[in-house]
């Protein structure tokens, strides 16, 4: 048994933590890095013919340039969060994780008013400028509750100290 950032853990426990952290971070990698980078192809597959072209272009513009970087940050924080769960660092990591999620959700929904633009084919007229404005403030707010609670949990854990996380 060794002291690991204020937490007493065995060598086996560290290996299990590493494997779980790796598993969860791979899941996060697929969800926050791979899928967003493939969203145009996915949209093309789901939408038929010309609607697919428009759907793919609109879907591509849905991903802000900063989102892949935020996705990678989430992967790293997911790994660190699982690996360092219950340690002195877990609280700050949760706060950081929650903040990155908040930024990611806010960026994805562009503050709740999505304004997308694409070129497509409408009524057989090619290169038609299509703009889509979506009011997603309610949806965004619902999705921000989880990260906000995560930040709160991180603050409480920092106040409480290590080893007693349930």
């Amino acid at each position: 048994v060794v002291r690991f950032f204020g937490l007493a853990v065995s060598g086996r426990n560290i290996v299990v933590r590493f494997l779980l952290a790796f598993l969860f971070s791979m899941f996060a990698f697929v969800a926050f890095v791979v899928l967003p980078s493939r969203i145009a192809n996915l949209a093309s597959a789901f939408f038929p013919l010309t609607a697919g072209t428009i759907g793919a272009t609109v879907a591509s513009s849905l991903i802000a340039p900063s989102e892949p970087t935020l996705g990678l940050l989430i992967v790293l924080l997911m790994f660190a969060g699982v690996f360092l769960r219950g340690t002195n660092l877990y609280g700050p990591l949760l706060i950081l994780n929650g903040l990155v999620y908040v930024v990611l959700v806010y960026t994805f929904f562009r503050g709740g008013l999505l304004d997308l633009s694409a070129l497509g084919d409408v009524f057989g007229a090619q290169a038609t400028r299509i703009t889509v404005t979506a009011d997603t403030r309610v949806l965004m707010t619902v999705l921000l509750i989880g990260p906000a609670l995560t930040i709160l949990k991180g603050l409480l854990l920092m106040r409480r100290g290590p080893k007693t996380d349930s």
Binding site: T128, I130, V138, V142, G146, T150, T164, S166
Partner: protein, 271 residues
């Protein structure tokens, strides 16, 4: 330490609930997209000519393959003439496309041909143009999201009477004072939207504006993408016949297309 410990437990439960609520919202919305839609299919424009008016119907099929109803769906379309004025407007009104269903609606377009001046009408009749359209589509999944989309594009306009040409084909005596002059005429219906059904009549004036003859009524009926060959006959004062050869006679053809609008077409008659 007791308060944070209990609070962390409560927050853990709240986080779990918020994750479930998020999934319960996001998954059905994602299924709307994954379910293959909404997919909008635009059918061919159907035109109804009746009592000097025309209604254009654009059939739309909207398929909602998702698990949520799409509400407040509305489609609107405006077509501008080459000079920037709206000549066709139409909208569907608001309707709901239920989950796992397909709705067929008609966008009824109302042409506003009165906005066109006679010169603009003639221009559209004889020349190809590009028309601008503005289309909008609204939909919502209350209370989570509402979407407004706009499209602006160009539509081709093919001249319904493209390359209208006349060629003198004969002059014969009608009576002691008048002659019958015959012209062969031809044009190509290059319109993408309607075929030309028209009645033609008119008068013939000389270079000083004096009425010297009358065009015998004739009719035109040609399908889209076809060339029409017709014969135009005019009874003209024999004393004015000499002016045919030097191009001093002008026929003012009153062309009534589909009983919708009347275009006066000046044609210099020569041969």
């Amino acid at each position: 330490l007791a308060l944070p410990h209990r609070a962390v437990k409560v927050i853990n439960i709240l986080i779990a609930v918020s994750l479930l609520a998020g999934a319960a919202i996001v998954i059905p919305m994602a299924l709307v997209v994954v379910g293959g839609g909404p997919v909008i299919t635009v059918g061919p424009v159907i035109s109804h000519f009746q009592m000097g008016t025309v209604n254009l119907h654009v059939p739309l099929s909207i398929r909602n393959g998702g698990v949520l109803d799409i509400k407040d769906v509305g489609v609107a379309l405006t077509v501008l003439d080459p000079w920037g004025d709206p000549i066709i407007t139409g909208s569907t009104g608001s309707f709901t496309v239920a989950a796992h269903s397909m709705d067929d609606v008609n966008v009824t377009l109302v042409p506003n041909l009165h906005a066109l001046t006679p010169a603009e009408l003639r221009d559209l009749l004889f020349n190809d143009h590009t028309l601008t359209f503005h289309a909008s589509l609204n939909a919502s999944m209350p209370p989570l999201t509402s979407v407004q989309s706009f499209a602006t594009g160009q539509l081709p306009w093919g001249a319904p009477m493209k390359n209208l040409t006349f060629a003198l084909s004969g002059i014969s005596a009608y009576n002691s004072t008048h002659s019958i002059v015959t012209w062969a005429y031809t044009f190509y219906d290059n319109s993408q939207y309607f075929h030309v059904v028209a009645n033609v009549n008119g008068t013939v004036l000389d270079s000083s504006g004096r009425d010297v003859g009358v065009i015998l009524p004739t009719s035109v009926d040609v399908s889209r993408g076809h060339t029409f060959h017709g014969v135009l006959k005019a009874i003209i004062l024999s004393s004015a016949i000499a002016q045919v050869s030097n191009g001093h006679l002008t026929a003012y053809l009153d062309v009534s297309i589909q009983s919708l609008f009347l275009v006066k077409i000046p044609v210099v008659l020569s041969g």
